[in-house]
């Protein structure tokens, strides 16, 4: 694939007065990649995208697309298209006129406009709606108009700013697959902004997680899930969120606050956190060699049950498969050391220490089967 759709950011910064929205961000997008910019609202992900698009000017740093430095280029000259949150369709124009707007403003000949319109309308299944106004379309159809409007430009790069946030949950999962299919079919390079970790995990070849204008972690969805670089990354990815337990000094090593009997990590880990995903905890009724705990309550979700379990002075979420009625029962918890994560006092991942293994169990409440791609 040509190098034309490579996107490179070098220490890009955006400041508004005293506030720094984006703080010296650098990354390099390989052509054909589907990259997710993920983070909570206000983390600078949309600003980063708008700087790439040229809709905001970078205060510092350089942006390259292909071989060109586009940092000061107007948005129309950067060779990319963009899909906006809540679609940003032109309300006064028909679907067809919306889609060809970019061709018309670039003065593409009429005959070619018609030809490309027909092709793209076919691609996103809008051929029967070309004469309607956006107000007469459903949310999913409007979304497809927005996609068509950006695809018709035939730019190799497409930027998407939370394009699915206005759709209901079911439509969203359909559109996720549609966008992903479109991207691989047209071989586009996509940078996709979202705050939804499900979108990030399911669509991205690569996820760049941001917080306070900085990159927290940059890796594959697999890496983000299995080796979170910080406590923030750990709690942002996965649902329900990873349990983070403060560690204090015990007799034989670091223990969970309020639960001094079972050492869970070396003494060096004291002051930091132990992280365990709800799906990585094994729960066994009746006391045993694991971490003693008490089931406080449970949430039945259909395929599985989330049990809220008291350990020491903390509450853990444990994912169990099927319907379980355990409230009020004492139990023990088990986990393997490769499924646990240690974070230091600043929240950064520690790989120099290994959590202390717990004695393993033989019989337990069944857990949901591990999802293939997330296995170690």
């Amino acid at each position: 694939m040509s190098n034309q759709s490579r996107i490179r950011l070098e220490r890009v910064t955006k400041r508004w007065g005293a506030t720094t929205a984006v703080d010296e961000i650098s990354f390099d997008v390989t052509p054909g990649q589907f990259v997710i910019l993920l983070g909570p609202s206000g983390c600078g992900k949309s600003t980063t995208l708008r700087m790439i698009a040229g809709l905001e000017e970078a205060s510092n740093g350089r942006i390259h697309i292909g071989e060109r430095d586009v940092t000061r280029l107007p948005p129309g000259d950067r060779g990319l298209s963009m899909v906006f949150q809540s679609y940003a369709l032109f309300p006064h124009l028909s679907v067809a006129d919306n889609i060809v707007f970019g061709l018309r403003s670039r003065k593409v000949p009429k005959a070619e406009q018609r030809e490309r319109l027909a092709k793209v309308a076919e691609l996103v299944d809008l051929t029967d709606y070309l004469n309607r106004k956006p107000a007469q379309l459903s949310g999913g159809q409007r979304q497809r108009v927005a996609l068509a409007r950006s695809v018709i430009s035939e730019h190799p790069i497409c930027l998407m700013d939370e394009p699915l946030s206005n759709l209901d949950a079911r439509l969203r999962s359909d559109m996720r697959r549609e966008i992903k299919a479109l991207q691989s079919r047209l071989n586009m390079t996509v940078i996709y902004v979202t705050h939804d970790q499900v979108e990030a995990m399911s669509m991205g070849d690569r996820v760049i997680l941001m917080q306070h204008g900085k990159i927290v972690q940059d890796g594959t969805p697999d890496e983000l899930y299995n080796r979170p670089a910080s406590a923030f990354a750990a709690s942002f990815i996965g649902s329900p969120a990873m349990n983070l337990l403060p560690l204090v000094a015990g007799e034989n090593g670091a223990v969970i606050e309020g639960e001094p009997s079972t050492p869970v990590a070396p003494l060096d880990a004291v002051g930091g956190h132990l992280g365990i995903r709800p799906e990585d905890i094994e729960l066994r009724i009746a006391p045993g060699s694991g971490v003693p705990a008490n089931v406080l309550s449970e949430e039945y979700l259909g395929a599985d049950t989330i049990a809220y379990v008291a350990v020491g002075s903390h509450t853990l979420r444990v994912r169990l498969s099927g319907k379980q009625a355990l409230t009020g029962q004492p139990c023990s918890l088990y986990w393997t050391s490769q499924n646990t994560h240690l974070f230091d006092a600043e929240g950064l991942r520690r790989d120099d220490l290994t959590p202390t293994p717990l004695p393993s169990s033989s019989r337990s409440i069944p857990r949901p089967p591990a999802v293939g791609s997330f296995q170690h």
Binding site: P74, S81, A88, H92, S105
Partner: protein, 270 residues
């Protein structure tokens, strides 16, 4: 129990207020049909003679023409100026533009008599250099009216442009449209109807303007309100009743037209 139920007293007060506001207007209608030569209620002698007088009097027809020219020109100017102004404000959108909006609103705050005085001195001074543009000239009155009604136009257009989704401007720029293309292909088409309602509002405001017009005209440019004014002062002529009836009908028509446009637009949006 609904504590917000409208009681009989509130209804009565509302009716009295409406009557107080509307009855003087309504009284003009029968007066215009009197058969007598002075202002009076018709007592069995209904007649259209005052309407006939109105349409055969060159003075009245001339003043209607003057008012039409002034109101249409001033409303056009005010609509174009306020549209251009709010578009610039929309693109720039910083602390200076907020100051500029405040500056535009100044004619609203100044008492009409003060505006009239200032405009009187201005037009008489302009007359020394260019008599065709100053005191007692059509262009002079048009410019003065434009100045007075632009704030209303700006308010109307600011409301309209604030309803335009800013993302469509970003989308247009992303699709390669420059500033002019964005303005002509995206912004103006979305403001079309609001420009029409702004024009109607400005037309009505200029059409009925009297305070400033009294100061800056003498006998060359007699607008309709000014003609009514002299008609009432010199001899109380029932023709005033006839023209008032026509004016009420015109104003109501324009207001309903404006409401209809706004209602249609609201319906289109959903």
């Amino acid at each position: 129990m609904n504590i917000y139920r409208v009681g009989w007293l509130a209804k009565l007060l509302a009716l009295i207020t409406m009557g107080f506001l509307m009855l003087p207007l309504a009284a003009v209608i029968p007066v215009s049909f009197t058969g007598k030569r002075y202002l009076s209620m018709p007592e069995g002698d209904w007649s259209l003679r005052h309407y006939i007088t109105l349409f055969h009097s060159s003075e009245w027809i001339g003043s209607i023409m003057n008012s039409a020219i002034v109101a249409i020109s001033a409303a056009l100017l005010a609509t174009l100026l306020s549209t251009a102004f709010v578009i610039a404000v929309w693109y720039r959108n910083n602390k200076w533009t907020r100051w500029l909006i405040g500056l535009c609103m100044l004619p609203l705050i100044v008492p009409p008599v003060v505006s009239a005085m200032v405009l009187y001195f201005m037009t008489t001074n302009v007359s020394r250099i260019a008599p065709g543009l100053g005191y007692d000239s059509l262009p002079g009155v048009i410019l003065a009216h434009t100045l007075l009604i632009v704030p209303f136009g700006v308010i109307n257009m600011l409301v309209a442009i604030s309803r335009v989704d800013r993302r469509i401007e970003l989308a247009a720029r992303n699709l390669g449209a420059g500033l002019w293309q964005t303005t002509w292909m995206v912004l103006l088409p979305n403001l079309r109807l609001s420009m029409l309602t702004t024009f109607l509002l400005c037309f009505i405001l200029s059409w009925e303007e009297i305070a400033v017009t009294l100061f800056i005209t003498s006998w060359e440019v007699i607008t309709l309100p000014r003609q009514i004014w002299s008609g009432l002062r010199d001899n109380v002529d029932p023709v005033v009743g006839a023209i008032s009836t026509l004016l009420i009908i015109l104003t109501l028509t324009l207001l309903f037209l404006r409401m209809a446009i706004q209602g249609w637009r609201a319906a289109q949006r959903h």
